[in-house]
């Protein structure tokens, strides 16, 4: 790493390090570099010695009036505390966790170091695009599209229903009427008209006629039938005023 462990002097003299805080990714990185520069075995690391180096380094940085990020200072405070606890006589009121904390820090440094090596190992693999190359020009293979049609029975029935409905609308439906024919009216009048009293023609209409149209049609056919009977001399017709009731009687 830059400026560290380069010279023989760096091995022993921390102050000889060129202070280059920007080179480090946080306090853990700096600690690891210091350990590496000292060629320390992390398994038997002396946290006290490492803490001293770290604190010296920050002191040197401060002397050069470099800006030191808060995280470095937090680590410095923590290391100073850890160091003091580790240096206290065993039986004194030392923080029993100090040794554990020191070991935890050493473990973290070992883990980071291992990952560093893993990253280097990966980089040296015959990576695609640096040592191995893929097909440069993709050759688009021909594609054939064969659609698969799907439909549900419900949709089919609905389609038929809609079609049938449309056809129904298109068919014109005339209302069916039961009109009395002239023949029926003739037969009816001849049969019902018995006496020689004047009776109203209307009274001979069949009573079951529901609609007005049918009733008017019956009036018309009955009138035609009565005219026909009058012409053949079977009956007489009488209307005393315009639009007045039409009277009918069998010819005496």
């Amino acid at each position: 790493m830059v400026a560290l462990g380069q010279s023989e002097a760096a091995k022993s003299d921390v102050s000889a390090f060129v202070v280059a805080l920007d080179e480090f990714e946080g306090p853990l990185d700096l600690l690891l570099e210091l350990a590496r520069a000292q060629k320390l075995d992390l398994k038997k690391i002396s946290l006290v010695a490492l803490a001293d180096q770290y604190l010296d380094y920050l002191k040197a940085a401060r002397a050069k009036q470099l800006e030191i990020a808060a995280e470095y200072l937090v680590m410095a405070a923590w290391l100073a505390y850890l160091k003091s606890q580790l240096l206290l006589p065993r039986d004194a009121n030392a923080d029993p966790d100090a040794a554990t904390m020191a070991e935890a820090l050493a473990a973290r440094l070992r883990a980071l170091e291992a990952i560093r090596h893993a990253a280097l190992w990966l980089e040296e693999r015959a990576a695609l695009g640096t040592a191995r190359f893929a097909r440069g020009a993709e050759e688009p293979l021909p594609k054939e599209t064969v659609p698969v049609f799907v439909a549900e029975l419900g949709a089919l029935l609905r389609a038929y229903g809609v079609t049938a409905k449309r056809q129904e609308v298109a068919r014109i439906r005339l209302p069916r009427h039961r009109f009395m024919t002239v023949d029926v009216a003739l037969a009816r009048l001849s049969q019902l008209l018995t006496g020689s009293d004047w009776r109203e023609l209307r009274s001979f209409l069949p009573p079951e006629l529901a609609s007005a149209v049918e009733r008017r049609a019956a009036v018309a056919t009955s009138l035609v039938a009565s005219l026909e009977l009058a012409r053949s001399g079977e009956i007489e017709l009488l209307q005393q005023q315009a639009f007045g009731p039409i009277l009918v009687r069998r010819r005496p």
């Binding site: 040296e124 015959a126 040592a131 190359f133 893929a134 097909r135 440069g136 020009a137 050759e139 293979l141 021909p142 594609k143 054939e144 599209t145 064969v146 659609p147 698969v148 049609f149 799907v150 439909a151 549900e152 029975l153 419900g154 949709a155 089919l156 029935l157 609905r158 389609a159 038929y160 229903g161 809609v162 079609t163 049938a164 409905k165 449309r166 056809q167 298109a170």
Partner: protein, 194 residues
């Protein structure tokens, strides 16, 4: 990095073997564009003659799945054209029928055998050119015989594939028109209310 420097420029003890043809092969494979003889020669340097190697490489690939094509001094690997039918990827997207096609299909199903003119009379519009072709493509409809009428028009029927797709045992499984009426199928699907 291991095993990189196979080419020993210095005359060291053992003879440094570099397969110049392998370099040409790898270059052509990995290049996004066809490479000119000059580019290949520039990369090879004194290791070999580009043109000789290209010809040799082309011979190696004769009869294989890929071949080396050189045109106008530029070279590239291409898949062998005679394999195209076997390389074609068949895509099978699912497609729904249009409203017109569904209605036409339903008329054929209910009124078969039915002529085009009869279908048009029922739907009240002319059948567009592709609709019957499309229905034939689905495999659900097929022409069958001719109507004994002026012009002897072709009649259309449904196929066993139709029964299969709609999971019908037979055409008599289709509900009768009166039954459809009860099921409310006479009304077009409701529009999603705004």
């Amino acid at each position: 990095m291991s095993a990189i420097h196979l080419v020993e420029t210095e005359a060291a003890g053992e003879p440094a073997k570099v397969d110049a043809k392998a370099i040409v092969e790898a270059l052509l494979f990995a290049s996004p564009e066809p490479l000119s003889e000059r580019e290949i020669q520039a990369q090879l340097g004194a290791l070999g003659d580009a043109l000789t190697l290209l010809h040799s490489l082309r011979a190696d690939y004769v009869g294989r799945g890929i071949r080396l094509e050189g045109r106008e001094g530029r070279w590239a690997f291409r898949t062998a054209p005679e394999l195209a039918p076997h390389l074609t990827r068949v895509l099978r997207p699912k497609r729904r029928l249009s409203k017109a096609a569904m209605e036409t299909l339903s008329i054929i199903a209910y009124r078969q055998p039915v002529t085009r003119a009869e279908i048009e009379a029922i739907r009240g519009v002319a059948i567009s050119a592709g609709t019957l072709d499309l229905l034939v493509d689905t495999g659900w409809v097929t022409p069958k015989g001719r109507r004994d009428a002026p012009g002897r028009p072709v009649t259309w029927v449904t196929t066993p594939g139709f029964l299969d797709h709609f999971d019908l045992q037979s055409l008599s499984d289709l509900p009768r028109l009166e039954e459809l009426e009860g099921a409310g199928l006479f009304n077009p699907p409701a529009e999603p209310s705004a």
